[in-house]
């Protein structure tokens, strides 16, 4: 497999501009002759579909939801970064670029990140013009806050609902194109495979989730904006339907998978309450600005939080990281919480939680100020836990939240299958080994509004895909494979429910491929996952039939892919024998327990190629060079 990242030469500041000029264009009259399939309608998918429609392409957009507005981008709370420097605090495109490369622990491509930082400026302009009601100051200009440990205020936000407002902006632009006839929308349609004809991605096969019918759609290019795979852990902050299917099927058709082990565990989530727990709820990171994180010093503490005297509390983040304290980056804060819980000092019924205490802040600033800052978050917490965080400390615990890994793409966002483009969280591109807060929304929209619409034109103008329609034999074959697989799932009629197996997979992944990983644990997981996969194919039960709305069948299909994907994820984690960003290998840490990178051997993207169901995947690597940001050990002491 040849990996050409197609990074433009020349100075990084000019790279994107030069590249845009050098790319071939499709003439306006020819655009409507090209059909582009966009799978997914989140920030990346909706913004791409809308923009491609505006440009005049014939776009088909697919979502498994009942409406494009339901995509999980909607749940992002905090904000979106942009190097506007409206606050005059020294921000710049270069600083955002620098922070992102460093924050990603030097495992991302410099050129991609620089382009992202440049485009961040256009995104905010575009969103404001669309009517996104960002927070404003009394003078009427846009407000910013600092976020995720950044030293400048560059985060734009709309209350705690930034993702929602940005998605609605993209959704509305998309609906406008649907009305104009340039985009055809397919809701409750789940993509089950990519169709490759003569080495080019030429279409997809979907299942209509209401009728069970399998349909083929042909196109000149295919775009996947299908999100991340945190639900491989079963419990995550992702929405219930988020899954790996689209990118996994693309992988099995020849698209390489990059850095699947890079997952982000968010430190401030509401802990698990019981076995019935279906998902985890994130509490905005901003809470750590005023909350103090602690656990009791003694193991098996039984007193209530308020009855534990100050001297018997361990404010472990402040103790270990005196300069950053409670504001230490996500990966570090998460890992520290796990450590104290593993020592038996965790709080709550399950022992899997730490306190986030606002007593000091309330004492210092008054309850009203705290209510003004975090009122809606406190309300969410109270609604879920029935505890009043103004009176008792919150309990929090880390939870899987975002996946930096994904399908490998070049600078043009094209995968190793010509014509198959991947955008947003579904690709591996810009975040390296750890994503900074408020950067996910930025990347999704950058890809969809401002990168893909140019690069896909270049692909079409140079590759000139010939005519192919769904009568081509390749579509029929894929349809049959899908029908066969569905039949198999329905015929097992075993004893175990889909969710029970998913929960078991989640436990394996959380224990062995979660916040910290070891060679021994990963090897164990690599033995248990295939066994669980066999158990699934022999003993799962999927009630109902195919020709109906069947949520069990949907879940079973997604879990079947997670069960295959999980193995690749562990394999990648085992191979990467270093600690970096969200990937912490216990064997590789400094004497005081910090992540220890190995730049000599691992300053590369791990790229996995599928070689068939019986063969092991083959590992390739794309070397990473750092010409602008000097490789350095992150320190938050």
């Amino acid at each position: 497999m040849e990996l050409n990242a197609n990074i433009p030469s020349g100075p990084i500041e000019k790279a994107w501009e030069t590249h845009r000029f050098e790319m071939k264009l499709v003439s306006p009259a020819n655009k409507r002759r090209y059909t582009i399939i966009v799978v997914g309608s989140g920030l990346a998918g909706a913004s791409a579909a809308a923009t491609l429609g505006e440009l005049g392409y014939n776009v088909l957009c697919f979502t498994y939801h009942d409406s494009p507005r339901r995509a999980h981008s909607i749940a992002a709370q905090g904000g979106i970064n942009a190097a506007k420097n409206y606050q005059n605090d020294g921000d710049s495109v270069y600083r955002l670029f620098y922070d992102t490369v460093k924050g990603g622990d030097f495992r991302s491509r410099e050129a991609n990140v620089h382009r992202l930082a440049e485009i961040s400026l256009n995104i905010i302009d575009q969103c404001v013009a669309q009517g996104v009601p960002f927070a404003r100051e009394y003078g009427g200009l846009l407000d910013n806050r600092s976020f995720g440990g950044a030293q400048v205020s560059r985060t734009f936000y709309a209350r705690g609902q930034t993702g929602q407002q940005l998605l609605l902006g993209a959704y509305q632009a998309l609906e406008r194109q649907i009305a104009a006839g340039s985009v055809q929308m397919f809701t409750r349609s789940e993509m089950l495979d990519v169709v490759v004809v003569d080495g080019q991605a030429r279409g997809i096969v979907t299942r209509d989730l209401v009728t069970g019918e399998v349909h083929s759609y042909a196109a000149d290019a295919v775009v996947l904006g299908t999100g991340g795979y945190s639900n491989v852990f079963y419990l995550s902050t992702n929405a219930k339907a988020c899954n790996v299917t689209a990118i996994w099927r693309a992988y099995k058709r020849g698209a390489a998978m990059a850095n699947p082990c890079f997952t982000q565990i968010h430190p401030t989530c509401i802990p698990v309450a019981g076995d019935y727990q279906s998902k985890l709820t994130l509490m905005s990171e901003s809470l750590r600005n005023d909350g103090r994180v602690w656990v009791p010093k003694a193991k098996d503490e039984t007193r209530r939080a308020r009855d534990i005297p100050e001297a018997e509390r361990d404010y472990f983040l402040e103790r270990k990281y005196p300069s950053f304290g409670n504001l230490a980056p996500r990966d570090i804060a998460s890992r520290s919480a796990k450590e104290v819980c593993d020592e038996g000092r965790g709080v709550g019924d399950t022992g899997q939680g730490v306190y986030l205490d606002f007593a000091d802040a309330i004492g210092r600033l008054g309850e009203d100020t705290i209510r003004e800052r975090y009122g809606n978050l406190f309300e969410i917490y109270e609604r879920i836990t029935d505890e009043n965080p103004y009176q008792v400390p919150m309990r929090i615990y880390p939870a899987p939240h975002y996946t930096m890994g994904g399908l490998w793409v070049d600078y043009n966002l094209m995968s190793t299958i010509p014509g198959l483009h991947v955008i947003g969280e579904a690709n591996f591109s810009d975040h390296g080994a750890n994503r900074l807060g408020a950067s996910a929304l930025m990347q999704g929209l950058a890809d969809g509004y401002f990168v893909l619409p140019y690069t896909i034109g270049h692909y079409l103008a140079t590759a000139k895909p010939g005519p192919v329609d769904t009568s081509h034999a390749a579509f029929g074959e894929v349809e049959q494979e899908i029908a066969h697989r569905t039949r198999r799932l329905l015929e097992i009629r075993g004893k175990r429910t889909v969710d029970s197996i998913h929960q078991e997979l989640g436990r394996i992944m959380w224990n062995h491929c979660g916040m910290s990983r070891t060679a021994a644990g990963l090897s164990q997981a690599l033995e248990r996952i295939p066994a669980l996969r066999d158990e699934f194919w022999q003993n799962v039960t999927v009630p109902g039939g195919n020709e109906q709305l069947n949520q069990s069948l949907e879940k079973a299909g997604r879990l079947a892919d997670f069960l295959e994907f999980a193995e690749l994820m562990c394999r990648d984690a085992l191979d990467r024998s270093e600690s970096c960003g969200g990937h912490f290998r216990e064997e590789h840490q400094t004497s005081d327990g910090e992540a220890l990178r190995d730049d000599e051997h691992y300053a590369h993207v791990s790229v996995w190629e599928y070689r068939g169901p019986e063969a092991a995947p083959v590992l390739h690597s794309e070397p990473l060079t750092f010409d602008h940001v000097a490789l350095a050990q992150r320190s938050y002491k």
């Binding site: 339901r70 302009d125 013009a129 009601p133 929602q164 019981g274 109906q548 709305l549």
Partner: protein
Amino acid sequence: MNLTLHVWRQAGPSEAGRLVTYDAPDVSPEMSFLEMLDVVNERLIERGQEPIAFDHDCREGICGSCSLVINGVPHGPRRGTATCQLHMRTFSDGDHIWIEPFRARAFPIVRDLIVDRSAFDRIIQTGGFIGVSTGSAPDANAIPIPKAVADRSMDAAACIGCGACVAACPNASAMLFTAAKISHLGLLPQGRPERTKRALAMVQRMDLEHFGGCTNYGECHTACPKEIPLETIALLNRDYLKASLVSRD
């Protein structure tokens, strides 16, 4: 605690539906309402029966997927709370709970508790946007917007498109949904140029989709998980009246 559920089951859009009674034993008060249904479903599946189909996704009260009319109230008894954020501690041991789908001609039932809310998308298509193509935007700070105006716009923009307003309204009116979008966009300077066109088009589409008219009951606002203010409906009325008088179309 032990509960008895009366759940609407319907195999398909054109099949007859009925209320079926299920026992929900050993429900923990810490469970969310949907987790309680998950547990009931797991038991059904283990017995080889088809689970109760219901829409849900983010379970954080923001995607607008979850629906359900619980004891006659969309999203259940707790104000300003979507079904997915409702917890079982709101109920008591021995309670009977009626769970029905959102009912409206414009929201045909797909299966069990799942309804088709695509009419909302079609309302948005007619004018629920600002017609600005990618790349043509001026600098974000070029037009100052008073904080109070931006805040009011945000109050309306918080709508999650769940359809509880329609389900709660005895007329199955979509006025609150439509008004929320008209207010969100119309209050902002960026949305002004299309304000007339938007009001006329969105109201026309709303009527075409067979939503009912507003009789100012106020049920919509009470059921709304985001508590979208009723004054948005007044704003819609005013915009529509003004648009009818000034439009040259």
